[in-house]
Symmetry: C2
Subunit: 336 residues, 2 copies
């Protein structure tokens, strides 16, 4: 899988200067907060090595290649998806009360709510601006694709927030939420390069469908890691999603399809007391015994297969197809 790491590294090297140039247009305060959030500097503004894997930008470049264009054709799209992704992280961390991301304090936790809100707003607006500066008719098409993805992203987050107060969330509702919250932006990432390359609608649609499947698969695995993941890998405390009583996909499956064990899990989630480590381990076991873990991993596999079929039927080059599939597998399994 070193080829994937190479491709990610290459993506970062292509995208980083353009992303930096975009961020540098922000006012000095938002810029320095964005630098910190992106892992480019510490709180005092000193450069740090780090930052995310930038999988969405890499997908956007491959998306352009898939449409027979140079990866650079997808560059404004790569910058835009990374900006939108980080807009949503800034706002979500605040709304979810998460104090850590990538092993560092979140922006709202160290700089206050206003900083997280405004830097997020600025990054969202900047994403559209970068796309609107593209020459030719692809600018509007790409900006519209992004607008729709942002709408879906917000819709997903709205559902996520609403589900926290509900005890009757169905599996379909939960899948719909994940399609919005995670699927929409990954779908835009795998399609936007092709849109910028002026690809036919059928190609764009196949790539978008692949990205949506990839997004669901990623979320299913992410939810499994949110319960059983190693803190050193996830950057979150163990049982983190259970601690937050999150109705994630495996939890919702277990509640709605797990019979008596599901009911016990549901009662555990509704209990008002702060659970200790043993209680969390017990809840995790309930999710497992009710079939939620197995289902989530199987469903992730099914989504990946469905996405792969869409790519195989699309009229795209073999090399780009292979790269997209390798990157997708890496994103889902997080192993290289």
């Amino acid at each position: 899988m070193t080829a994937v790491l190479d491709s990610l590294q290459q993506g970062r090297q292509t995208v980083q200067p353009a992303l930096r140039a975009a961020i540098d247009r922000l006012d000095p305060t938002s810029r320095s907060i964005a630098y910190y959030h992106l892992g480019w500097t510490d709180l005092d503004g000193n450069p740090t090595s780090g930052g995310g894997k930038a999988v969405r930008p890499a997908l956007a470049l491959l998306s352009a290649e898939a449409a027979g264009a140079a990866p650079e054709t997808g560059l404004p799209g790569a910058v835009a998806v990374e900006l939108v992704h980080n807009f949503s992280l800034l706002h979500d961390d605040l709304m979810d009360g998460d104090t850590e991301r990538r092993h560092r304090p979140t922006v709202w936790a160290v700089r206050g709510a206003a900083s997280a809100i405004l830097t997020g707003d600025a990054m969202l607006s900047l994403a559209q601006e970068v796309l609107l500066e593209v020459d030719g008719p692809a600018a509007v098409a790409a900006a519209r694709l992004m607008s729709e993805a942002v709408n879906e992203l917000i819709r997903g987050q709205v559902l996520d927030v609403a589900f926290e107060k509900r005890h009757d969330v169905s599996l379909d509702e939960c899948l719909d939420m994940a399609a919005g919250k995670t699927g929409a932006l990954l779908s835009a990432s795998t399609a936007i390069g092709a849109v910028l390359a002026g690809a036919p609608a059928a190609t764009v649609s196949a790539l978008a469908g692949f990205g949506a499947d990839l997004g669901l698969a990623f979320q299913l695995v992410d939810d499994v890691l949110g319960i059983w993941g190693e803190p050193s890998t996830t950057g979150k405390p163990v049982y983190s999603d259970l601690r937050a009583r999150k109705k994630s996909l495996p939890v919702t499956y277990s509640i709605t399809h797990g019979g008596a064990i599901g009911r016990e899990l549901s009662a555990w989630l509704a209990a008002p007391d702060q659970p200790d480590e043993a209680s969390l381990r017990h809840a995790a076991d309930l999710v497992d015994q009710a079939g939620g873990r197995r289902w989530a991993l199987d469903e992730a596999h099914r989504r990946m297969t469905a996405g792969q079929h869409k790519l195989e039927e699309a009229e795209i080059g073999d090399h780009a197809r292979e790269e997209l599939l390798s990157l997708a597998r890496f994103i889902v399994t997080r192993e290289a």
Copy 2:
């Protein structure tokens, strides 16, 4: 001034259905929060009469007329500026901790921070979408104009938040903040109709300049009302800006240009205790005695005159010019 009220009423009648159609595309939760925020329904979703004056949409329609087009040409712009305006209100009320707007509880105060953040995000994204759906090359031009206005709006709010923690804000910095926070969107409102009508750059630029001047004049008067305004008119408690120790334009003028009285005012603002009514009245008197009130009203007049000159030199129809000026005077004086 009944002509102005007619023109506003007409603007609302033209814009309201399109704005509603746009809002209706949001997910049900965001939609119902937007309805409440816009004054269309109460908290339970029952229809109410009310809502803002919608001056920005009226300016956008007149902007199209100024460029010789039908007002309807400016309609997507009118919807977009109203959406962006309300995006910023939703986020600002949360960041500023304001619990009341238009005599009703603010969204964050009744529905929580996440609702205000997400509904704001959704309205911002929707504004771009509405513009991107316009046929022809004006779509990109209008969407770019709006993107730049949003960037400026956010920059202004970033400065506003930063100024709260500073005691050395210069008058120029304060004017620059107001130009971003208030001027940018009014400037976009007076220009976007002309952009959608495909007007020459010189006309767009004159209209944008007029709107920027109008924005500054409005903010100067708004800041005076923030101290001395009648609660029944402003919908805010008396001395509201002093209570919040806001370094508004008249306050900043008095501090930086008011000699000994200014220093006394500065010390008052820095004091840690919660001021009572008598203390607030005393502070308001200090702003007055140091010349801040007079300067703000004079400066508002100068800005209006400068804006009027820009309109007079622009190649636009007499009727639209008169209507723009009347509406501008109404916005600034709030009398009809």
